[in-house]
């Protein structure tokens, strides 16, 4: 592991020694987690693996390689379905963090407050896991299992994300509530993806909420309620009710109480839906 050469995935996985060494990507979670301790060595530095920097179309999917940073995502030309993910990217830490941190690392860190998870849930992202034995693909919901817990098996790494191509008429929005402008851990965040048909009706709706449960989750009842609604309706926000939030189980912590988080999420979802109608009427 030296020099500036990158290495083949297979060779690197062999070095990975069945997962007995830690994985390093952008380092933005790896180093802070060390506290005052020196960094372990060796590590599997996936930023050196050939091909994992790729971001682009792969068949019916968009593929985000495991070494793609948030800045690279923001700078990439992507369809409107990715707008929400890009909004999240710009709110992650700061530019100094976005230049290092990877999209995939945000998922693997499996923090309840990971800003990347709700928009990727709302995009129906799938996670590609690679081991010396082969490759498997899991829906994101099946990948993050709990606080700091993922479905990764020993010896396996995430090599990329797959996001299905969306119709061009897709509205996508991310909202983050934090108590200051930059470098802030979210109190709550919401992400919506609305696919809109030729008549302006919502034909597919995905809504995800973060920092309000051990793992960010989708609100299927709200999604169902939105199906068939008129996306141009200025009162689209009225579709959301408190009952739709029942899958959430926020905790009380220093950033906010359960009660406040529920109230805030309700408001953020309403605003996101109002934005949809507002922007459509504008254009």
């Amino acid at each position: 592991m030296g020099g500036s050469d990158t290495n083949s995935l297979q060779a690197m996985l062999a070095d990975y020694a069945g997962g007995k060494i830690p994985v390093l990507a952008g380092g933005t979670d790896f180093y802070p987690a060390l506290g005052d301790r020196p960094a372990p060595h060796p590590v599997l530095d996936i930023t050196r693996i050939d091909g994992l920097k790729a971001l682009g179309k792969q068949g019916a999917d968009w593929r985000i390689g495991a070494a793609v940073t948030w800045t690279e995502l923001v700078n990439a030309e992507l369809p409107s379905a990715f707008d929400g993910l890009k909004e999240a990217a710009r709110e992650i830490g700061s530019v100094q963090i976005q230049n290092l941190a990877t999209v995939v690392g945000n998922l693997c860190n499996a923090s309840p407050a990971a800003d990347g998870v709700p928009p990727l849930l709302a995009l129906q992202a799938r996670v590609e896991l690679t081991a010396p034995m082969g490759v498997r693909v899991l829906p994101l919901e099946a990948f993050i299992l709990g606080v700091r817990r993922t479905a990764l098996l020993p010896g396996e790494i995430v090599t990329g994300l797959l996001v299905p191509e969306h119709p061009s008429e897709t509205f996508s929005r991310f909202k983050k509530l934090g108590s200051r402008s930059y470098l802030v851990i979210s109190i709550a965040m919401t992400a919506i993806t609305l696919v809109i048909d030729g008549e302006g009706l919502i034909s597919d709706a995905r809504v995800a909420v973060g920092a309000c449960s051990p793992v960010a989750i989708r609100l299927s009842a709200l999604e169902a309620a939105l199906m068939g609604s008129n996306a141009d309706n200025p009162n689209l926000a009225a579709v959301v009710s408190v009952d739709h939030l029942s899958p959430l189980s926020p905790i009380d912590d220093i950033r906010g109480s359960r009660h406040y988080r529920m109230k805030a999420v309700l408001e953020m979802l309403r605003r996101s839906l109002a934005d949809c109608a507002g922007e459509r009427t504008k254009s």
């Binding site: 530095d45 200051r180 470098l183």
Partner: protein
């Protein structure tokens, strides 16, 4: 380029550093920041948190700004790394930015300046005309605790236009005299100067808020860990195992003995080979802990059966303060309207970007301590007592200080390295981690304040009754000062005949609370100024007019009975806000009418608050001494011991001295601070340096000038010119006298002319009711803020501040503005964001200070009501600047949406709760 070997894990990484090939042998996962600083001595890269929370270590990698503390050195193989020193040398854009930073006053302490310049360079390379939002996004990841960011934004916006420079006399906005080193990254901060062969010291600290402990076999531990040269604990202290800042309250051990009183308290330290010490797992240190029930609040510490923290301090009451005048009870009984409330604030962390650090060297029978401090002579005397040495055996050499704000007045790291250097006879170095700094150093006192104020029908305050309880933590530190200052200041700058204010400082099992910009006054102002708004509303009076109506005036007694005949400046401050105030009120009304109509959730509000602050110690001697000399070849040397922690004393003291002597600032060479070289100019605290050390500098300058005038029999208004060894004195009649300095005898310092002057402000003791003249002068302030509240999320958007400050005379108006901006930023943090919770918010991602996106535009109005005691009329300013900010914000929130937040910080959640409460009350009442 010098290369070192990280032992046993060496691996060569080559990269381009500042346009030159570099190659290091290091463990591949070593942080880039550590490689740069420790292996190849690139010390212009600063480390503030090691967690990506502060951005101080920002460098460019292939042109992109990244936190170098989050990058493995192996990840930069073959890449291009640029740091501020390289950019200043190679990138013209950075050179221009650097000059712009200095010209705009965008660098104060300078610890964040390298990262700001590096990040701004990356922005300008892609966009030569960035707007405000682009600048904020580019710099959002770099924290600054001094400047309030506005001057940084101005400096980047106007990077290619430099304002005209002025001459440097009193009243001129000259660039800070110590600025060049700050933009080039060459300033030596606390962690930048350690010799390469220094041993490393780490401190073993209590993991519990209160615990008993027993040290194991330290000798066996040392033998089992080759590379450890010393393990030190209480029994190794030659003198007193105690330190503190106020006589009678010296109560904190260097190393706890058998019992720790707060989480993070030191119990021992290990010293040795840096590579070994760095890798030690201190959890394996031989110590057995028994955790005990801890009392973290005054209520718990004073409850029945609570354990007493210190002998002789019953009920954990450390001390009380009181000021009483007239009859508060009667005054309130006769009031036409009253307002009453209970207010709470939490611990506030200073959060300077530079954690404590330094190194000590034994030189025969003396110890030299290099590092960050606000109080070199107090450090010297404190270390002397701990080491059982004469004070003259201790030399304190303050480094550049990467922010202080009060916490670096107290000893922290110094005793450990002094002891270790003394015992090992080797240089010993220490660097606090961010967590260690936050756990163990002093904080702003949490407060619980109960206050009632009454006013008569005409709107005149007629009664004021204040009780403040302050959590002083495990040790006294500056707690007694807080207890004394608060009752004197709790009135605010108002004339109040019937007044009672009592303060109590209570010990608890928290980190010691000590000095923090304002010594308790920002907390009391929150209660007092919030209730002023309520009284105005009860009286149906304009809130600003109500304040003007009650403002203290010349010739009126303060609540301690002190009378200032000419220098009270609060009314001019308040009156200067009137235009903006009325415009803001009208704008808010229009905005809210439109919002109600459209159903938008935002509501706009306007808030105002006043503040005052007495400069210098409270009714105690507080001298500053300044020495200066002129050499035979015409060099003018100012021995400037007033430590510059970013606020600008190096510049202001020099401006005063230059004006008094009658020469240009750029002719003066500044020496110090260094206790072997500079006489005692006191501590940098209590807004005293401009006033007190400034006066000593003025007297020294005048003394030198008079000596020269006497030598030539010239009149006092003569013009001096010192050019080489020739001094010309021009009395204006066309006649010029000359002295050749080489004709004069040199003293033992090599000076042919010298002066050393002391200034001690005139104060008078206070009696048992707090009546007396505690301060020679006060400074005054009034600030207003416009903001919007999102009434459904509880979030606040600050729109702008107008800050009026009576500084007597602005010695350097740009530095005055810098202080105002920085104080407002800290006030914003106090109001909306910050709370240190021992054991929970011990890092800069859980403890949130304002970022560049959180401080709105600030208009500064400088008021100059000269003070007869101040140098050229100047008053202090450093602490006044944050006193009105938090209450102004709370008042504006209440104005916007009715929410009365009584417990700080006013988080979105608390604001939303207060809104709900208000609307419920309105419903019940309606």
């Amino acid at each position: 380029m010098k290369n070192h070997q990280e032992k046993s894990q060496g691996h060569r990484t080559s990269f381009v550093l500042n346009d030159r090939l570099a190659s290091v042998d290091a463990s591949p996962t070593l942080r880039l920041s550590e490689v740069l600083r420790e292996l190849i001595n690139v010390r212009d890269v600063k480390v503030g948190c090691n967690a990506g929370d502060c951005g101080a270590c920002t460098v460019l990698v292939d042109g992109l700004p990244v936190c170098s503390c989050l990058l493995a050195v192996s990840q930069i193989a073959g890449k291009r790394v640029e740091t501020v020193a390289g950019l200043m040398a190679n990138e013209p854009l950075t050179g221009k930015l650097g000059s712009s930073f200095l010209a705009h006053g965008a660098a104060q302490c300078g610890i964040c300046t390298p990262a700001m310049l590096v990040s701004a360079t990356a922005l300008l390379r892609n966009n030569r005309n960035p707007d405000g939002p682009a600048i904020r996004d580019a710099l959002g990841g770099v924290l600054c605790r001094c400047t309030g960011y506005r001057k940084i934004i101005d400096a980047v916006l106007n990077w290619d236009q430099l304002p005209q420079q002025e001459d440097g006399q009193v009243g001129a906005s000259i660039v800070r005299l110590d600025g060049q080193a700050k933009i080039k990254g060459t300033d030596q901060f606390a962690d930048d100067g350690a010799p390469a062969d220094a041993l490393l010291l780490r401190v073993v600290r209590s993991p519990y808020h209160r615990a008993d402990f027993e040290l194991g076999d330290l000798g066996a531990y040392r033998r089992a860990n080759p590379g450890i040269s010393l393990v030190l604990s209480a029994r190794d202290i030659p003198g007193e195992n105690l330190f503190g800042v106020i006589p009678g309250y010296i109560d904190q051990p260097v190393f706890a003995e058998n019992y720790t009183r707060f989480k993070g308290e030191s119990v021992a330290c290990v010293v040795g080979d840096p590579d070994v010490i760095k890798h030690l797992d201190l959890d394996k240190f031989p110590i057995v802990w028994t955790e005990r029930q801890a009392d973290l609040t005054p209520a718990l510490a004073q409850a029945e059966g609570a354990e007493q923290l210190h002998l002789g301090k019953e009920k954990n009451l450390m001390c009380e303060g009181r000021v009483q005048r007239g009859n508060a009870t009667e005054g309130l009984a006769n009031a036409h309207v009253t307002a009453k409330g209970r207010f709470e604030t939490g611990f506030i962390e200073h959060a300077y970007i530079e954690p404590e650090a330094g190194f000590a060297v034994r030189i025969e029978d003396r110890i030299e301590i290099h590092g960050c401090t606000q109080a070199p002579y107090m450090d010297r005397d404190g270390i002397a007592a701990i080491m059982d040495l004469e004070p003259s055996a201790i030399r304190i050499l303050p480094s550049a200080v990467g922010g202080g704000f009060g916490s670096k007045i107290d000893l922290s790291f110094q005793p450990f390295i002094a002891l270790a250097a003394w015992m090992s006879d080797r240089p010993v170095r220490i660097t606090y981690s961010r967590t260690e700094s936050m756990q163990s150093t002093t904080k702003r006192h949490p407060s619980e304040i109960t206050l009632q104020i009454g006013a008569d029908k005409t709107g005149k305050i007629c009664g004021f009754d204040f009780v403040g309880v302050f959590n002083t933590g495990a040790y006294a530190s500056w707690g007694p000062t807080v207890a004394n200052r608060v009752p004197v200041h709790a009135s605010g700058p108002y004339s109040i005949a019937n007044y009672r204010a009592v303060s109590r400082a209570i010990y608890s099992n928290c980190a010691p609370a000590g000095a923090f910009r304002g010594f308790g006054v920002p907390q009391s102002a929150i209660a007092q100024e919030s209730l002023m708004d309520e009284l105005a509303s009860h009286l149906n009076m304009d809130r600003l007019q109500f304040r003007i109506r009650n403002a203290l005036d010349n010739g009126e007694p303060t609540v301690t009975g002190q009378v200032f005949e000419t220098s009270v400046g609060i009314k001019p401050c308040l009156e200067s806000l009137q235009d903006n105030w009325h415009k803001a009120l009208a704008a808010a009304e229009r905005f809210n009418r439109a919002a109600e109509k459209s159903g938008a959730p935002e509501r706009r509000g306007v808030g105002v608050a006043s503040g005052w602050y007495g400069c210098g110690n409270t009714s105690l001697p507080n001298p500053s001494r300044i020495k200066a000399g002129i050499g035979a070849s015409g060099g003018i040397f100012l021995h400037q011991g007033a430590v510059d922690i970013g606020q600008g004393s190096n510049t202001v003291i020099t401006q005063i001295f230059a004006s008094a002597l009658g020469v240009a600032v750029d002719q003066i060479c500044i020496l110090g601070a260094d206790t072997d070289v500079t006489p005692d100019a006191g501590k940098t605290s209590a807004s005293r340096q401009t006033f007190i050390s400034g006066n000593a500098a003025r007297l020294s300058g005048e003394n030198l000038r008079n000596q020269i005038l006497r030598l030539t029999n010239a009149t006092t208004d003569a013009t001096l010119t010192i050019s080489g060894s020739l001094v010309s004195v021009d009395v204006g009649t066309g006649e010029k006298s000359q002295i050749n300095l080489r004709d004069l005898a040199e003293d033992q310092n090599g000076y042919v002319l010298s002066a050393e002057e002391v200034y001690d402000p005139p104060t008078k003791p206070m009696d048992k009711n707090g009546q007396g003249d505690p301060y020679a002068l006060f400074g005054y302030a009034a600030q207003m803020v416009e903001l919007t509240v999102d009434t459904r999320l509880g979030t606040v958007e600050l729109l702008n501040f107008t800050a009026a400050h009576d500084v007597g005379k602005a010695i350097n108006p740009s530095l005055v503005e810098g202080q105002v901006h920085g104080g407002i930023a800290q006030g914003i943090g106090l109001a909306l964001l910050e709370e240190f919770i021992p054991g929970r918010t011990e890092n800069l991602h859980d403890y949130l200070i304002p970022t560049i996106g959180d401080v709105p535009p600030i208009e500064t109005i400088i008021i100059e009501v000269n003070d007869p005691h101040g140098p050229y009329g100047a008053k202090g300013l450093g602490e006044h600047v944050l006193i009105p900010t938090a209450p102004a914000i709370l008042n504006a929130i209440a104005d916007a949406c009715g929410a009365k937040v009584r417990k700080l910080p006013a988080t979105p959640e608390r604001i939303l709760q207060a809104i709900t409460k208000t609307s419920k009350e309105a419903k019940t009442n309606g």
